[in-house]
Amino acid sequence: MRPVPDRDSAEWWAAVRRRELAVQECAGCGTWRFPARAYCPVCRAREWRWRVTDGRARVSSWIVAHQRFHPALAPPYTVVRVCLAQAPGCVLYGTWVGGGEPVAGEPVRAVFTEVDEGLTLIAWEPAG
């Protein structure tokens, strides 16, 4: 299922196309945030800049999909929920490409998967 970028997220998806996992850094208080939006929820500042992260994260949780939830995706497949190492409040989801089963708290890194000319997605693999 292709993502449908909106006016807040279009630049983020463009960064992913460049194999960059970016988050916003608030110019007012320095808080890093994801997903993209105009105002900082901590200090309400509207000025911010992109920060490219190191792509490191830790596994928060995971599931193994056994039912066919979408016609285009054949089960079983594993989806992980991760918190970024540089900004644990930034939560992302992605396909698990680690082979075995994830472990809670396991260090992982982002892997960029080029689906086609217009789309790159993020997967996660063990960083160990």
């Binding site: 056994h66 995706l73 989806v79 409040g89 997605l121």
Partner: protein, 385 residues
Amino acid sequence: MNGLRDRTALAGVGYTGFSKDSGVSTLTLACEAILAALSDAGLTTDDVDGIATHRVGDSAAPSVVGPALGVHEPSWYLDQFGGGSVSHAVVGQAMLAVAAGVARTVVCYRAINARSEFRMGGTGRGAPPGPEVQYQAPYGYVAPPQQFAMYARAHMTKYGTKAEHFGQLAVTQRANAVRNPRALMRTPITMDDYLASRWIAEPFRLLDCCLETDGACALVVTTAERAADLRRPRVLVSAAAWGGGDSFLSGGRVDTTVSAAAELAPRLYRAAGIGPEEVDVAEIYDCFTYSVIVQLEDYGFCAKGEGGPFAASGAIGPGGRIPVNTHGGFLSEGYVHGINHIAEAVSQLRGDAGERQVAGAQVALSTAQPGYVLPATSALILRRG
């Protein structure tokens, strides 16, 4: 003293039959349930001046249902966007409208063809709207059973919650449904049945998941004073609470083992002037087994992390410390998006729950989806009065 406490009442409940294919429109279901609820209360459509529902674009709107029943000029209505998390907020909003005198007799309904027309389980339905979907759907993470499985796994990891804890909850609720003539699933199940049921989204098996049901349920909200003169034993709205929080992507809620109910519960109990120890029966939103486990903790029936062992201890069954989902819940009665939980609480407090009656029930808690999809939840404390 909360100025709203016990000022309004639930004077009637009504149901359609539950099925996998109603064969009729959600408009028909809504009208049937509303007429049944009014009849239960001893009222007619001439008395109705308020209409409310919650829905996600899948059902007949109050602006359609009102005229269809000949209610042409309601003085108040509410068409609340949202799923199970706002189910109890609808009744809370009706409470406000009635207490303020804006309306005198409000019908709250939920009509849904959740099996035959608009499945929520992730097959044959597009992704729901919302800005966060784009970050999840491309990975095949699209459906509620996956989301709640993700949160259940985190609870298992952090607190040692086991499959058998989820299983005992499913077994207990099925046993309750056996005593409920309305329930769709009335064949008893065992722990072996639970463990042998197929994986949906690991760690969830089929029997962790609620039914997808066609049906409708409606409630009549009026003033406490008026309810005293109506035909059924009076059930007072002691407290309603609803509210938001942070979504999981907003950066505010990273630890998913604590639900929005943990923030809501103190406010709810304060408004009612009671604590969890005074609740006799609890109808807890059970879209999945895990959502009950976490709410048992967050509504204060056991310590944080102990919801699994508590649910498996017998404490939530008939004669236990706090009987839960006496109707069988979404897992076994049917899925009417929260309204059938409120209706069951009313039935328990009126003492007309038949074989599944909790003896002497005076106070009931009924809860909504605890904020795991939209960052909001809602709940009611009801009291026989």
